[in-house]
Amino acid sequence: MTVKDIISILDADLISGEDLDREIHTACGSDMMSDVLAFVKDQSVLLTGLVNPQVVRTADMMDMVCIVFVRGKEPGEDIIELAQERNIVLIKTGYRMFTACGLLYENGLRGGCQKK
């Protein structure tokens, strides 16, 4: 799945970023950043309802490729700038977290983690 596929599956809008052909292998959905940081996988997408610069910093530390803001959340200019500097694509969808994750799962994307 690519970033472009995610945009189409989630009926999402591109906020910023260019490289939409990058492959996504796994996804992680959370509003708690340390939960996200507990999970390390390559080329992931982060789904979150949280909108602040730490979301971008967290994704960057994990080498994540793309952030999806759910529930139509709108990041500010500061967040967009940070994401551009770190080469992370930002998109937003009107779907809520559960539905957005479900749609991606249904289309073959997995969490990439073992049950604890």
Partner: protein
Amino acid sequence: MSDVIALHFDVDGEDFTRAGEASYGVKRTLKQLGINPEAVRKVAIALFEGEINMVIHADGGVIDIEIDNNQIKMILKDKGPGIPDIEKAMQEGFSTASDDVRSLGFGAGMGLPNMKKYTDSMEIQTELGVGTTVTMVVNL
């Protein structure tokens, strides 16, 4: 690389939105040095958690990084309240973070466990009312 490379950062305890800048700087430097990506990511995550802790629990502090051929050492020093019970603080899910901090996406009680998980050694020195020093090492 024969010498030790040393980096120093002051972490502002007042500005939550900038918390993580030091970790970003370290990550960039490690990449430029050609350190393997797996080690870079471990350092980045552990340091980021530590840096956030300094800001949300201890009003900021200083970070020193030492890089040599064999390891990356991170020393995070603050003059915060100290940690009353380290064993408890190390448990997954234990957090004293306020609702304010939680609404910013932190306070899951996963930071210290993550720091331990991603590093080869971690040591916490703490004294109530004096401060906390966390020393972490990632082997290369």
